[in-house]
Amino acid sequence: MSKLAAKIALVEFRPDETWQHVVIADQEKCRRCPDKNCLRVCPSGVFAWDNIPGHPVLVSYRQCIECGACRLACPEGAVEFSYPHGGYGVVFHQG
């Protein structure tokens, strides 16, 4: 079990289809960001980029485990992180 996708598949998520709790409001900031820490720091691979300059950073909020590290790691302050609405999001069972 080393592939992140396989690990993410083990986690229970109750995604909110009507509201996205982590967003990048201004992709312009990401375009000029040389580090893109979000791509690596996020433990559940929420952020994805196709390595083509000018293309946006995609946010797969449905697999977010709600640690909130992205907003701290982003040097541009571009990640707007909030928690999902009540009853939605990740559910941990194993402690």
């Binding site: 079990m1 080393s2 992140l4 690990k7 993410i8 083990l10 986690v11 109750r14 509201w19 580090d35 820490n37 690596r40 720091v41 996020c42 433990p43 559940s44 691979g45 485990i65 709600e66 640690c67 909130g68 590290a69 701290l72 790691a73 040097p75 992180f81 909030s82 928690y83 999902p84 609405h85 009540g86 009853g87 999001g89 990740v90 559910v91 941990f92 069972h93 194993q94 402690g95």
Partner: protein, 456 residues
């Protein structure tokens, strides 16, 4: 008999309550509303409700503990002071009788540990716990004492009247306002509420650590065999050096009844600097030749990650505000590996301050400052003050954990080797090996700095 200890534990069922409809009339005003049903929030709610206050406890997860993970062991003796014989009331995992520290290099480990059957008698030293079981039990206690618990309620903001907190606003789907004389924020490490209300400075990537964990299922007998444990007893192992890939951070192994929780983490800024993810650290540890055999054949059942405030004493934000107190992780009350206990005690002190404020019908900063005074006089802040410089030390010497783990392993390796040379020459040889990794003057300076921090 010990082998059957877990069968006598009954899982606690949380009483279910009807959720208020969105078009319900405006709810009544509470004495206190507590945000977050973790160890800090649920303890505060329990002690306030026990003292006769009208308490509302709001939790955004579908059950307490659903939104956090990692570890964990509870220091039984400290919790016992607040909740006598609490281990009889919920389902813990194992009685920790083996405590180890492993300093790892890429292929070896220097270890120090203590194991004793003296730790297996009540009041226990540490009990490994699943957060879900511990938090659910604690919240159920608050409910039994008279508090109202609402699950699936995410608090989006604090309601302010000028500077005075007067309640909280719950996000959709409920979209309700709850009014209260006192708001207690126990919403965890990433306390967006306090930050957004302008009550605390924004938390920083240097002060918050990100830990990833994996739960790996193994038969109880296999766990006991691999960790040399009597049935029902458990181990907690701190992993230093290699796990965090050259940065200051820690890993840990906790044994549960039929699984192992392995975790690793370091500050968010270290990940940003290193260019890898917490999941990478976990994979690194799992493949280590000393650790892989412990996990062999196990099945990963859950992956997760969470942040822990590790800024220490100097990172504690202002905790007392007009009509509002901050407790637990949200208050940055984590001292090394102690977090759950500090959270429970801070909840207890917040409840004491709340009771006095209610009695005097005075929820000003002046009255509520009793919370900070109680904390200051308690072991919580005294211990955090003692360790106050540890965070700075780690920041100033980012090589500390990794370099000295490698150095210890190299020295130990050369020591256990038997060379065809006189012992005197061998000692010189080892000395040269060690000082080739770090000049002797720098070693002396590092030791001096560490001693200064340890001495407090």
């Amino acid at each position: 008999m010990m082998s059957d200890w877990f069968k006598t534990k009954k899982p606690h069922k949380l009483p279910t309550r009807a959720q208020p409809a969105t078009d319900a009339p405006a709810p009544r005003k509470y004495d206190a509303v507590v945000v977050g049903a973790g160890p800090a929030g649920a303890s505060a709610a329990y002690f306030m409700a026990r003292d006769g206050l009208d308490v509302l406890l709001l939790e955004r997860g579908p059950f307490p503990g659903a939104k956090t993970c990692g570890g964990a062991a509870i220091i039984a003796e400290q919790a016992h002071e607040l909740f006598p014989n609490f281990w009889e009331e919920f389902s813990y995992e194992r009685i920790v009788t083996r405590l180890d520290y492993w300093w790892l290099s890429e292929d070896s480990a220097v270890t120090a540990g203590f194991t004793s059957s003296r730790l297996s008698a009540a009041p226990y030293n540490r009990l490994s716990v699943k957060r879900k079981n511990l938090y659910t039990w604690l919240a159920a206690k608050a409910v039994a004492a008279g508090a109202t618990l609402l699950l699936g309620h995410h608090v989006a903001g604090v309601l302010l009247d000028g500077y005075q907190a007067v309640g909280v606003r719950v996000a959709p789907p409920q979209s309700t306002d709850y009014l209260a004389d006192l708001v207690i924020l126990a919403d965890g490490a990433n306390s967006l509420l306090a930050e957004r209300a302008g009550l605390i400075p924004p938390v920083t990537a240097a002060n918050l650590s990100l830990y990833a964990k994996e739960t790996i299922a193994l038969p109880p007998a296999t766990i006991e065999e691999r960790f040399c444990l009597p049935p029902g007893q458990g181990a907690a192992i701190g992993l230093i050096g290699y796990p965090t890939a050259g940065y200051n951070g820690t890993g840990s192994i906790h044994t549960f009844h039929d699984s192992i929780n392995i975790s690793a983490g370091m500050s968010v800024s270290a990940y940003a600097a290193g260019g890898f993810s917490p999941g990478d650290l976990l994979e690194r540890i799992k493949k280590h030749p000393r650790i892989q055999p412990l996990l062999d054949g196990g099945v990963t059942t859950e992956y997760g990650a969470a942040m822990i405030p590790e800024g220490g004493y100097h990172a504690i934000p202002p905790l007392v505000h007009p009509g509002l107190l901050i407790a637990g992780d949200a208050a940055s009350l984590v001292n090394g590996i102690h977090g759950i206990n500090l959270a429970m005690w801070s909840g207890f002190y917040a409840a004491k301050a709340a009771f006095e404020a209610k009695k005097n019908r005075d929820f000003s900063i002046r009255k509520l400052s009793l919370y900070r005074t109680l904390l200051d006089e308690s072991f919580i802040l005294q211990n955090m003050r003692t360790n106050a410089k540890a965070a700075t030390l780690q920041r100033d010497r980012p090589y500390l954990f990794d370099l000295y783990s490698r150095l210890a392993n190299e020295a130990a390796y050369q020591m256990v080797r038997a060379y065809p040379m006189p012992v005197k020459d061998k000692r010189k040889f080892i000395w040269r090996k060690v000082t080739s990794l770090q000049p002797v003057g720098k070693i002396a300076a590092d030791i001096w700095q560490v001693l200064k921090v340890v001495k407090g």
